[in-house]
Assembly symmetry: C2
Homo-oligomer: 239 residues x 2
């Protein structure tokens, strides 16, 4: 009998059976039998058969919320990049399990759908954080119109960052890149640069972002004071 914790034995048995028999054809009883454990043990760790494949989404969401809530106001977009990195690092730590899950979600539409829904929850968390950060740091007021602009901006940026993350993650899951973190930093850095707002902090290792890239983009409100803009410009061009 394996010395692995019951939780991992159940997951391993489940993944093996899903591969052998198919996801739909496998029952919780099949899984406990293969793992040599009882149903009570199964339901102590997992709410359902589906849960065996996605056990960590709630915990991961909590970790991201924690990372974001510990943020000083200056480091807003850096915190979002870090929270996105939390997801990637989680997958890297899972290693083989993450790749098995990817194979399974590619085959079973119901599981792929569940993953899409989980991703939407991360995206919403990011979007709410970015909206709060923009309100406090990017010169928006609290009128209805400003609030709407902030919400739109935040939703678009969060969607772009999640899409960039998912792109790099999929490349790693497919074995197209061995160390995805520098690629992730670059992709997130580019999104942040594209949506550049005065005072925005670049993502991850700032020095690598833009090192091979000689184009800069800045976005600003046309009501912004010219001197403020020029000093932002000098920072970008001078660096």
């Amino acid at each position: 009998m394996s010395k692995k914790p019951a939780r991992d034995r159940l997951a391993e048995a489940a993944f093996d059976l899903f591969d052998e028999r198919g996801y739909e054809q496998t029952t919780v009883d099949d899984i406990t039998e293969r793992a040599g454990l009882g149903r009570t043990t199964f339901f102590r760790y997992y709410r359902s058969k589906e849960d065996v494949i996605f056990p960590d989404h709630d915990r991961l969401l909590e970790q991201m919320a924690e990372r974001l809530s510990a943020t000083s106001s200056e480091a807003g977009m850096l915190a979002v990049s870090d929270a996105v990195r939390v997801v990637m690092v989680h997958y890297l730590q899972e290693g083989k399990v993450a790749r098995r899950r990817y194979a399974l979600t590619s085959r079973v539409p119901a599981l792929r759908d569940r993953e899409i829904v989980s991703t939407a929850r991360y995206q919403r968390l990011f979007s709410e954080f970015i909206a709060a950060w923009l309100t406090d740091n990017a010169g928006y007021g609290r009128s209805d119109s400003d609030r709407d602009q902030v919400a739109l901006q935040a939703e678009v940026i969060a969607a772009a960052m999640v899409a960039a993350h998912n792109h790099v993650l999929r490349r790693w899951l497919r074995g197209q890149v061995q160390d995805p973190l520098p690629e992730l930093d670059k992709a997130l850095g580019r999104v942040i640069k594209v949506f550049a707002i005065p005072g925005l902090t670049p993502a991850g290792d700032g020095s690598s972002v833009g090192a091979t890239d000689d184009t800069a983009v800045i976005a600003f409100r046309t009501s912004t004071d010219l001197d403020t803009l020029i000093s932002s410009l000098k920072r970008i061009v001078g660096s």
Copy 2:
């Protein structure tokens, strides 16, 4: 007995019952009884109880694919904006039904999840189209590295456009805007401008994009002379 088509009578009965009894508590039999129609009729139009609420996603996806496939190469991003508009126009045509669905998906997590999954399908269609368009029109080659850059870019732009659409759609569903199409054009135009690619065609009525818009975006090579940049800036801010 109502003279409405059976399909609409079933939908109306379903929405009424979901409001009165709750979604989970309503069965297909309840719906047919209320509509004064049989189960056979129900299953001619809908595959399930859930389907009554989301009957048009497949048809909508087809309409978008058609709109995209009829595109000349120059008009790439214009076609994507138009395809996004197809979704919005569909909701506007639904009118009250769309608002009832919104109220329902806000209350019933399983329905909200299904909507998120449908949205992901649109987003994927857009992303594939944008990737093909970028490959043909934005000076990318066919090396692995170029292909990856194109895919990343396309996924990020598609995510940003869908997020912009959903933001404006939600405002309309909540009654915060009466005619959402100008707002949608403006939001999509901004996304396209932010991701400025040489040769990119602006969305919708190009003249309206930026006219009432108080955000400016400039892109420049970091090797550009600072004085040149500052005089460009003065022109924008001064205008």
